[in-house]
Structure formats: C-alpha cells, structure tokens
C-alpha cells in the first residue's frame, strides 16, 4: 500500500515538528526585521554559533534524559567542574592542552556515573539526585578552583570554541574549504534522504510526493549553503561547528536506530511494559545519566575555552537553557517523546532570541521574562495538542 502524502497530510501528521520549524523561521524573520538585518550578517551568525554551541551540546543530552522520563538539573555545575579541573591542569600545572580536554571529559563521565548510580541502582528520582548534584558539583568546583578564576588557556584549547579553519584550500575573499564541507554535508543529506525514500517505497510505506520531496530538499540545501556562504565570507568554518555537527549526527542515529535509543523511548513511554519486555531498565537509565555527564563535560570544555578562563560561576542556569531547548523542541513532559533534531531547533530558537534581544540592547530582565514565557507557551501548545488528539 504505497501511498503518497500531500502537503496537508505531511503537515498535520507531525504538527509539533512542523510547528517548531515554522516558529523558528518566524522568530528569525522577526528579529531580522527588528535588527535591520543585523541578525543574519556573517559576523553575527558566526557569533551565534560560537556563543551558544555549549547549550546545543547540552540540549542533545538533555532531550535523551527527558525522553527517558527523567530530568537533569546538574548539567551547569558538571560543566563548571569540567572546566575547572581542565583549568587547574592546563593553566596552573602547565600540562598540555589536550590533557585538559581529556580530564574535562573524564570529570563529566565520573559525575554522570555517580548520578546514574543513584538514579538507576538506588532508585532515587533524577530530579532529587541532580538537584543534589547541582549543589555538590558546584561546591567541588569552588574547592578545585579555591574560589578564584584561572585565565589564559593555550591557543589550541581556546580555538576549540573560538577557532576557525580558514584558507586551507585558498579562495578569493571566501573560504573554499568551508564551502566544500557544507557542500559535502548537503550532498550527504540529499543522498541519505533519497536512499531512505527509496527504501520506504520498497517497503510500501507512505512517502511524500516527489515534487514536494524535492522542494523540501532544495529548500534545506539552499538555506544550509547560504549559511555556509556567509561563514565562508567571514572567518571560515568554526571548529566548534564541526564538533557540534558530529555530535548531532551521532546522537540522531543513536536515538533513532540503536537498541539503546529504542529502549530509552520504551522506558519513557511505559516503564513497566518495558521491564516486562525484557529491557534492562537499570542499565539504560545508567547509560542515560552517564551520557549526559559526558556531554556536560564537553560543554564545560567548550565554555571554558570560549571564556578563556575557568571560573567558579561558570555554567550558572545552563540547565534551564538545555531543558527549555528540549521542551521547545517537542519533548513530552511525561517522557517517551522527543527528537535530537527537535532539541537542536529548540536550542536555536533560544539562541536566536537571546542574540536578537542583545542586538536590540534589551536588558537582562526582559530577556529572562521573554524566554520564560516562550518555554511556557511551547509546552502549553504541546499539552493543548495532546488534549485535542485525545479528546475522542
């Protein structure tokens, strides 16, 4: 029963996902107009990527935590601790930069394993475990840094968050390498989409009509290439964008196609049913928290590299940005629903709003109020949709 879906069907079938993309486009347009186009200037686009990459890294882990039916309030403190340990090793003890990176990741893994132990094997709700972790790891951060900031990481370390790859293949005013990478990315995307579509038809599934499918691909490719062109015209390819790209790709596959990913959705959707289907719930929960610790470590390194210092206050309120990104991106409050791509779009919405409001010179208080309301409305929209769908 191969079927062809029309525009309306495609749209309504995944209202939440299409809604989030439309909201993103609307927000970008709004701030573009308000800032007289400053938002989309090459230097600002570059800036958004460098400034908010760590939130997107956290959002990837957070959406998995939320799909599994948990929450993690400690990511900001864990990130701070990772940066702190790295700072002490690299700045104070003069170890090479990569020791700092490894140490930061190990710190994240240890924190994740610690919280995973309490959540999975002792059975304490993640809300409590990570609330404790929020205090615990913040305290350890202060102790490690002896209450002072450490500054001036080596150049290689800083370039993780601030550096660009430029001029590798030359180019006249625009970086050919950047365009090549973006070109390859788009080609890979188009190829995989075509392959998936062919498979779907082979397996007699409903697919989008061919013209519609091509329009969608062309639109995505055009936006991405334009974005690449803007970057190529400025400083070239940000290194952090490569890191982010790899993480998004890997975790999209992990959530959608691996057994682990499946089991996360299963325990978030119905814990008992998952247990009775042979899912090793404890180990899955442990894995979820361990992974969140890992990504918090990565985010901590990126943030310390961006700031060029390890400070005791680093990572304050990171958890709220990451949680907001996941929920705005369509994760369900009750667990079992959510997507990495959604969390990324949710994170970009938060980033665009913050950046746009900064360009307009809005004070911090306005930014908090607006972000709080956006989160509330996004989840309200989700709840409303569910109620409508479940009204029968």
């Amino acid at each position: 029963m191969t079927g062809i879906a029309n525009v309306k069907e495609l749209f309504t079938r995944n209202l939440r996902q299409s809604g989030i993309v439309i909201a993103f486009v609307a927000i970008v347009l709004l701030f573009t107009i308000l800032t007289d186009g400053k938002l989309l200037r090459p230097e600002n686009l570059n800036n958004i990527i460098l400034q908010y990459s760590y939130i997107l890294v956290l959002a990837i882990g957070m959406v998995i935590v939320i799909i599994g039916g948990h929450i993690d309030l400690s990511v900001g403190s864990v990130a701070a601790l990772a940066g702190a340990v790295s700072g002490v090793l690299v700045i104070k003890d003069q170890h090479p930069w990569w020791i700092g990176v490894l140490a930061g990741i190990v710190v994240g893994l240890i924190a994740g394993a610690w919280q995973g132990f309490w959540v999975a094997f002792v059975g304490i709700p993640a809300f409590i475990v990570t609330l404790a972790g929020l205090l615990l790891f913040r305290g350890v951060t202060w102790a490690v840094l002896k209450n002072t900031s450490l500054s001036n990481f080596p150049e290689q370390y800083q370039s993780l968050a601030n550096g660009h790859i430029n001029g590798l293949l030359g180019g006249n005013g625009y970086d050919v390498f950047t365009l090549l990478i973006f070109g390859l990315g788009v080609a890979g995307y188009v190829f995989s989409q075509f392959r998936a579509r062919r498979k779907s038809i082979q397996y007699k599934q409903v697919v989008a009509a061919l013209p519609l499918f091509i329009i969608k691909l062309v639109a995505v490719a055009a936006v991405v290439m334009w974005f690449g062109w803007q970057l190529a015209n400025f400083k070239g390819l940000p290194i952090v964008l490569i890191i982010l790209g790899v993480l998004v790709l890997v975790y999209s596959i992990v959530t959608a196609r691996t057994v682990f990913g499946r089991h996360v959705y299963a325990i978030g959707g119905n814990l008992t049913a998952a247990t009775l289907s042979g899912v090793k719930v404890k180990w899955v929960n442990f894995g979820i928290m361990l992974n969140m610790g890992f990504l918090a470590g990565v985010a901590g390194i990126l943030f310390s590299a961006r700031l060029n210092s390890a400070t005791p206050q680093a990572g304050n309120l990171f958890e709220l940005d990451a949680i907001s990104a996941a929920f705005i991106g369509g994760a369900a409050v009750t667990g079992g629903v959510g997507k990495v791509s959604g969390a990324i779009v949710g994170g970009l919405i938060m980033a665009t709003m913050s950046n746009g409001m900064q360009l307009l010179g809005y004070p911090q208080q306005t930014q908090y109020i607006v972000k709080g309301l956006v989160l509330l409305l996004a989840v309200a929209f989700d709840v409303y949709n569910k109620r409508r769908a479940g009204a029968r």
Binding site: V259, R262, A266, G269, N270, G278
Partner: protein, 523 residues
C-alpha cells in the same frame, strides 16, 4: 407502565473523520436497571459521555430529556447537579485519602467558617457505607482496601450526591465472583429505593441476572431494546444483536489437536509478598504443560494467579522466591525478564494498558519491543525489516489499524491485545503464559483470541491460560489447575471438569490463611 426518567433522542456525535454515534435512541424507565451491551468501539462509552456532560451540549446533535425536562449539560458538574452520576471502569479514588475523604471529595461537608466538619463527614460516611454493605473504618486509606470494596465506595460517593440515575461502566470487570454478586445485589437493593441504574457490561450472565431491560448498540446505532422478562430474551439473542451475526460457537473448535511431550514444569514454587516478607503468596506450587496443550489456571481474585505467573517470569513479582523451573526437563534460569525470554518464556499481562503496551508508541515498535534483538545487528535496529515484521503480524493476527505507524493508544481493546500477543509471538516462545487475555474485549474479538490460542497450541507451543471466567477455561483448555489462597488445590481434565467442581476446589481454604485471599492481586 412506569414513566421514563431519561430519554435520549437521535443522538449523533461526530469526531473528525468518524461518526461515533448516529441517531441513537435510549429510553430508561424510572426505577429500572437498564443494561447497555455492545462490542468495544460500538459507542457505549461515547453515549455515556454525552449523557454526563463530558461532551457538552452543542457538540452533539439530538436531545436529552431527564426527569421530563430538556437537559443541556455543559460539564459533568451540571449532570451531577441534576442527579446523574457516572462510575467509570477505572475508579476515580485517591489511594492515600481515607474512605470519608474520598466519598466527600469535591463535595466536602462544611461546618463553621467554611471549614470541613470531619466528625459530620465521618459519621455520614459510616451511614453511606452501611447502605452499600461495607463495614470499614471511615478513616482507612482507600488504597488498603481491595478493588471490590473500592467499587462500593464509588457507589457510596454517588449516593452522597443524591443520585437519581447511576451509570456504571463495566462495574464488575475487575471483581471476583463474590464481589460481583454483592455489587449486583446492591444495585437491586438501590432499585427498591427508587434509584435507576444504567449498567454497561460484557458479562451476559450478570445482565440476565440483574437487568430489567437491555439496549444493544452496534456500530454507533441502537439495534434494539429488549425486555429481559421476555423468555425470548436469551443470551444468544443479545450476542446476535451485538455482533450482527449468529455466533454458533463461542469457542472455536480445536483442529490439529495433538498433545506432545512435556515442555514446561515448575516444582516447589514458593513466593513471598514483596512488602510483607512473612506472607506466603504462592505456596509450594507445582505444575506442568505439554507441547500443544492449553492448561488453564482457575482461581478467585487474590488466589495468586498473576503473582505465580509474574514470579516465574523474571521474578517481576515478590521476593523470597524459591523453586525450580524446567524446560524440556532441563532446569532453566528465569531470574530476570531477559533470561526468561531467552529461555523461551513469554508472559502477556492481564493489564495491557499499564503493563503490556507503550500507548504513545506505534504498532510496529510495540510488536518489536520484546524481540528487538532479532531485528538488530551491531546494536543497530533495522527499521525497514521492523515494518515487514509488523505488517506480517498485522495480517496474521488481523489487527485492525489504518497503519502499523498508528499509535497503539488509538486502537480498540481487542486490537491492542492482538498487538500484545504479536509482540510475544515474535520472540518465538515455547511457553506462552496468557493472563486474562480476553479481559475487557468484546465477543467478536474474544473469538479471534481463542482461535489464535488454538493456533499457537497447534504449532506445538505450551500455553498457560489464566482466566477469571470459568466458561472460557472450560471452552479452551485441555487441563485446568485450580489455585486457592496461593496453593494448587487440584487439576482436572477438561472432560471431567464442571464449573461446580472447579469452584469447589477454588474455594478450598486452609484455615490458617483464610484472610489472605481478601486482598487484591495488584503487584
């Protein structure tokens, strides 16, 4: 002739794309017990939601007259104010609140300064409990009482609201025979006091016992209303009306019926209560099942049937478990669910919505949930093969769904149960334990499930069938074990078994554990 307390005329209710009710008429006379019968999805619950104001006036077509006046309920509160109280299949009680607190929840007895007068409330609660034949302390938390008593508390709650028309949706679905009988007699008692009842039920014996008239609904239409005192109003007539066809045999005939060697055996199986370690829930049980054999487990609520099954299946119930499990004569390890599955066991739970399915996930992912390993290489799931598998079971099990990508929560009860069975069949088990596989599903779907059970048996699987309905056990099993208060009290060949003989064994008490059977079976 008595006057009508309720008249619903030409009720039509449409949801986007679906006409759930079309021109339904319902007349209920003052002071009668009126049963409503119909297959799942026929529109019974929708009709009751229209009546009780869940679907407010204006969202449906047609007219409702209650007590001679046109009723236009905007909310449930409106219908309750008029004296219509609905008791849903899933009880709406707060387990940690006391009996009195639950009875007056949302309807609190206020004293001075608008504060709650607990003396008054507890006193009234005792009176209400006496009316429904309950003898409990009004300050006992409801969660400590069994399901049967909770059901009675729901009725007491309705009485506290001066109910004129009581609607019960499948009131005995979760009750054992004694509790069911008590409840039905209570309804008859309320009738003497002028309270009219509407009862939605699948249990035809109960309808025959208690109802004055029965309205049959099929596919969103009224088929007929029959007077139960008429000798022509037989169960077969109701079934005919419900399914729209003659159901000659309620149980399919067994074909290819060969019983082979022993496959599954348990010995000395003892299980203790998870929170009360002294309490023995399953006491030294032993049983065996042969290839191609359907073996029933009969027992009243609280006998330990589900506890027995779940303790075997990955020790998902109880603690202090001892005993041996054998597969084809060799002892196997079933201490975790995955080990149990690997060793060829499957357990389809009695509560498919809570324990069996991920309702927010689609059909295909539910089917693959337990056998995901077969679709996996190097930790990656083959999503396309998964669709092939799901489509296979959709066809083989006749799962009625627009697509395997449909969320399981949108399917009817019978089709949900077929998804659960598909999930376990895909793990290719040797022993299939089915716990109340036909609970809450309609007559037509039951027949399909029985047919599937026969098919699994014909393929040489060993089937254990746990059921509260004796006719079901007698109609589908080869042998039946009886379980009473955690002990296996006997085993009968189906040829020799009668309901009376089984019931005798099922109620065979050991004096020391007389109280154990009164608790619910919830894990």
């Amino acid at each position: 002739m008595a006057s009508n307390i309720l008249e619903m005329r030409s009720i039509t209710k449409t949801f986007p794309g679906v006409k759930a009710l079309s021109d339904v008429d319902l007349e209920v006379r003052q002071g009668e017990i009126h049963a409503i019968c119909g297959e799942n999805g026929a529109g019974k619950s929708t009709l009751m939601k229209v009546l009780s104001g869940v679907y407010p006036h204006g969202t449906y077509e047609g007219a409702i007259h209650f007590n001679g006046e046109e009723a236009r309920f905007g909310t449930i509160n409106d219908s309750e104010a008029a004296g219509i109280v609905i008791i849903h299949q899933e009880l709406a009680l707060v387990p940690y609140l006391s009996v009195a607190e639950n009875i007056f929840l949302g309807n609190e007895r206020r004293g001075r300064l608008g504060l709650i007068d607990w003396n008054q409330a507890n006193h009234e609660a005792n009176e209400l409990m006496a009316r429904v034949g309950l003898n409990e302390n009004s300050i006992t938390p409801v969660g400590q009482l069994g399901v049967g008593k909770q059901q009675l508390i729901e009725i007491a709650k309705a009485l506290s609201k001066d109910v004129k028309l009581l609607i019960l949706d499948e009131p005995t679905a979760a009750l054992n025979d004694n509790d069911s009988e008590h409840l039905l007699n209570l309804l008859k008692g309320l009738k003497e006091h002028g309270i009219t009842s509407i009862m939605i039920s699948h249990k035809l014996n109960e309808i025959e016992y208690v109802a004055d008239r029965t309205t049959i609904i099929r596919d969103g239409r009224t088929i007929e209303t029959i007077d139960m005192s008429d000798p022509a109003s037989t169960q077969d007539r109701i079934i005919r009306g419900m399914v729209g066809r003659d159901l000659e045999h309620r149980y399919p005939e067994r074909i290819d019926h060969k019983i082979g060697d022993e496959i599954f055996r348990i010995e000395n199986w003892t299980v203790h209560h998870p929170t009360q370690p002294d309490r023995v829930v399953v006491d030294n049980a032993g049983m065996f099942v042969r290839a191609g054999e359907v073996v029933g487990i009969a027992g009243l609520m609280g006998a330990g049937r589900t506890e027995l099954a779940m303790s075997i299946f990955g020790r998902t119930y109880g603690r202090g478990i001892s005993g041996e499990v054998y597969l084809r004569g060799e002892q196997i390890d079933t201490s975790t669910v995955s080990k149990a599955i690997d060793n060829g066991l499957a357990y389809a739970t009695e509560d498919r919505k809570r324990y069996g399915l991920n309702l927010i996930e689609d059909v295909k992912r539910n089917i693959s949930a337990a056998g995901l390993g077969k679709l996996t290489s190097n930790g990656f799931v083959n999503g396309n093969e998964e669709i092939v598998v799901a489509e296979h079971y959709r066809a083989a099990m006749n799962i009625r769904t627009p697509s395997v990508l449909q969320k399981v929560g949108n399917l009817s009860g019978g089709n949900q149960q077929k998804v659960v069975l598909s999930k376990w069949l895909y793990t290719d088990p040797e022993v299939m334990i089915l716990d109340e596989p036909t609970r809450g599903i309609d007559v037509g779907a039951k027949f399909e499930i029985y047919t599937l059970i026969n098919k699994m048996a014909a393929e040489g699987k060993a089937i254990v069938l746990i059921s509260s309905e004796l006719p079901e056990l007698l109609g589908t099993c080869d042998r039946i074990y009886t379980l009473a208060f955690g002990r296996i009290t006997g085993v009968m060949d189906v040829k020799d078994a009668t309901p009376e003989a089984l019931m005798t064994l099922m109620t065979q008490e050991r004096r020391t554990s007389a109280s154990a059977g009164r608790e619910g079976t919830a894990a």
